[in-house]
C-alpha cells in the first residue's frame, strides 16, 4: 500500500480529481499554499496499491493543463510507503 502525496496547481484540481475518480482512485483534497509566494495550490492524498502507482502518476500527468507557467513543473509528487492501511 502506498500513499501518493501530490501538490498541483489550483486550476488543475477539478480535472485531476475527476479523472482519478473515473479510474477508481480514492482521493482526498486539501487546500494548501506555497511557502514562498503564498500562492494557493492543492494537495491531494491518494491511497493506492503499489502496482497502480505508475498508473496514478500517468493520470495526474495527463490531467494537468499544458498552460503551466514556463519553467515550472506541473506537479510535485511524493510517494510514501504505508505501514498499515485499514478502511472502516
Amino acid at each position: 500500500m502506498k500513499l501518493i502525496l501530490t501538490i498541483i496547481a489550483h486550476q488543475d484540481t477539478d480535472a485531476v480529481i475527476s479523472s482519478l475518480i473515473e479510474n477508481k482512485f480514492g482521493v482526498t483534497k486539501v487546500a494548501s499554499t506555497g511557502g514562498f509566494l503564498k500562492k494557493g495550490n492543492t494537495t491531494l492524498l491518494i491511497g493506492i496499491e503499489g502496482k497502480r502507482v505508475d498508473e496514478g502518476l500517468e493520470i495526474i500527468r495527463n490531467a494537468c493543463s499544458e498552460s503551466a507557467e514556463i519553467g515550472h513543473h506541473k506537479a510535485t509528487v511524493f510517494i510514501l510507503n504505508v505501514g498499515s492501511f485499514k478502511q472502516l
Partner: protein
C-alpha cells in the same frame, strides 16, 4: 550622540573622543593607540544610533579626509627622517625585518587558518603575499620614545624598509601572482557576453540622449525622425545578439542569476544593519534575521537558481517533513526554509485540544540535508509558556485567573520518501 544630531557638534565630539581618549590613556600609562581604537569601536557601533544619515555622512567624510591627511603626513615624515646612506648601512637588519614579517605571516596564514576551516590553497598564497604594510607600521615606529636612543633610528629604518618592500616588492607582484594561480577565470563566452551587453546598453543610452534633446527642442524634428528608425533597428539587432549568447550559453544566465541573488541578499543585510542602528529593530531580531540571510549567502546558490528555473536534473528527494507549526511562528519558519533552499507547502490546520490555529508544513528534503531543515525549523519555532484565561465556573469567585500552558515549538514527523517525481509537461 543620538540626542545631538547636529553635524558640527557631532564631528567635534568625535574629534574630542579621539584625542581625549588618547591623552587620558597616556596619563594612565596604558596604550593610547588601543584606547583610541576602542573608543572608535564603541562610537561606531553604539554611539551613532539614531544619528541622521546626513550627519553620519558628514562625520564619515570628515574622518576620511583626516585619514588621508594623516596617511600622507606619515609618509612625508618618514621621507624627511630617513637617511638613505644610513639605510644602506643597516641593510642586513632590514632584510632580517622583512624575513621576520614574512615568516610570521606565513605561520598565521598556513598554520592557524587551518583551525577556522578550510581555505582553498590558492587563496592562502594570496593572503600570505597580500599582507601589505603601510602607514600603521610607520606610525607605530615613529611613536617610539626617543629615550631608546640609536635603537629607535634602527627600528624606524627597519619599518621603512619593510614598507618599501611591501609597496614595491609585494604590491607590484600580487597581480601576476593572482593570474598565475588562476584564481580569476574569465571565459571567452563571458567576455563576449559582456561585450555584447555593453554595446547594447551604450547604444540605448545614446538613443535616450537624442530623444531627450529632441523633446527639449535641441534637436530638429526632421533630423530626429530620419535617424531614430535607423538607431532603433540597430538597437534591436544588438539586443537580440545579447539574447542569442544567453540562449546558447545558459550557464551565463545562471551565473548572472546567482550574482543577482547574492547582491539582493547583501542589500537586505545592509538594510537590517541600518534598521538596527536606527533603533527600528532590536538586536535579537537583527541577529535572527541576519543568521538566515548569512545561511542563504553561504548555501549552495545552485539550489536557489534551480528552484527558480526548475531546469536540469530533478532533485533527489529522500525524505518528507511534516511539521506542525504554531500560527505565530509560520512566517519565520517558511522564510527560514526558503533561505536554506527548501521549497515548502503549507496547509492550515488547528490543534485538537485547544482548537488553536496552526499550520502543517510539507517539506521535501534532498539527500543529506535533513539536519539543515530541522535546524532551520528549530531556530524559527520556539516553545513557550502561554496563559489561557480559565473558564469561569458557576459559583466560584475566581475571575480571569490564568492557567499556564506549555506551547510546543513545532512537532516534526519525518517520513522516508520511496519515490519522488516532478511531473513535467
Amino acid at each position: 550622540m543620538s540626542r545631538i544630531n547636529d553635524y558640527l557638534i557631532a564631528t567635534t565630539l568625535t574629534t574630542v573622543l579621539a584625542f581625549g581618549s588618547y591623552l587620558l590613556a597616556e596619563q594612565l600609562h596604558v596604550s593610547g593607540v588601543l584606547a583610541v581604537v576602542m573608543a572608535g569601536l564603541i562610537n561606531g557601533n553604539i554611539g551613532e544610533r539614531g544619528v541622521s544619515d546626513s550627519t553620519r555622512i558628514v562625520i564619515l567624510n570628515f574622518w576620511e579626509y583626516v585619514a588621508f591627511l594623516a596617511n600622507s603626513a606619515v609618509f612625508l615624515l618618514i621621507g624627511l627622517q630617513i637617511d638613505i646612506a644610513a639605510m644602506a648601512s643597516t641593510w642586513q637588519m632590514i632584510v632580517w625585518a622583512i624575513g621576520a614579517v614574512l615568516a610570521s605571516r606565513a605561520i598565521v596564514i598556513y598554520l592557524f587558518s587551518r583551525i577556522g576551516g578550510d581555505l582553498p590553497r590558492g587563496w592562502r598564497h594570496i593572503l600570505f603575499w597580500g599582507g601589505l604594510r603601510g602607514a600603521i607600521a610607520l606610525a607605530l615606529a615613529l611613536s617610539l620614545p626617543s629615550s631608546l636612543g640609536p635603537e629607535r633610528e634602527v627600528m624606524i629604518e627597519m619599518a621603512f624598509g619593510v614598507v618599501l618592500f611591501s609597496l614595491i616588492g609585494q604590491g607590484l607582484t600580487i597581480e601576476p601572482l593572482i593570474r598565475r594561480l588562476k584564481l580569476i577565470i574569465r571565459s571567452e563566452d563571458r567576455i563576449e557576453y559582456e561585450r555584447r551587453r555593453a554595446r547594447a546598453l551604450a547604444h540605448r543610452a545614446g538613443i535616450e540622449r537624442l530623444q531627450g534633446m529632441y523633446e527639449e527642442g535641441l534637436l530638429s524634428s526632421h533630423t530626429w525622425k530620419s535617424i531614430s528608425p535607423v538607431l532603433q533597428s540597430r538597437l534591436e539587432a544588438l539586443t537580440s545578439a545579447v539574447r542569442e549568447t544567453l540562449v546558447q550559453k545558459p550557464e551565463l544566465e545562471v551565473d548572472e542569476m546567482i550574482a543577482a541573488h547574492q547582491e539582493a541578499l547583501r542589500t537586505q543585510r545592509l538594510l537590517l544593519t541600518d534598521l538596527r542602528q536606527d533603533g527600528v529593530i532590536t538586536d535579537e531580531t537583527y541577529e535572527e534575521l541576519v543568521t538566515d540571510i548569512d545561511i542563504s549567502i553561504d548555501s549552495d546558490a545552485d539550489t536557489w537558481v534551480h528552484n527558480i528555473l526548475s531546469r536540469g536534473t530533478q532533485r533527489l528527494i529522500k525524505q518528507l517533513i511534516l511539521a506542525v507549526v504554531q500560527q505565530r511562528d509560520l512566517e519565520s519558519a517558511t522564510s527560514a526554509l526558503t533561505m536554506r533552499g527548501f521549497p515548502s507547502t503549507l496547509i492550515q490546520s488547528s490543534g485538537g485540544f485547544l482548537k488553536r490555529r496552526n499550520n502543517i508544513l510539507l517539506v521535501g528534503i534532498p539527500k543529506g540535508r535533513l539536519s539543515d531543515a530541522v535546524d532551520g525549523l528549530r531556530s524559527a519555532c520556539s516553545g513557550r509558556v502561554e496563559y489561557l484565561s480559565a473558564p469561569s465556573v458557576p459559583g466560584s469567585i475566581s475571575i480571569g485567573a490564568a492557567i499556564p500552558i506549555e506551547v510546543q515549538g513545532a512537532t516534526i514527523f519525518i517520513f522516508d520518501v520511496e519515490r519522488y517525481e516532478e511531473l513535467q509537461s
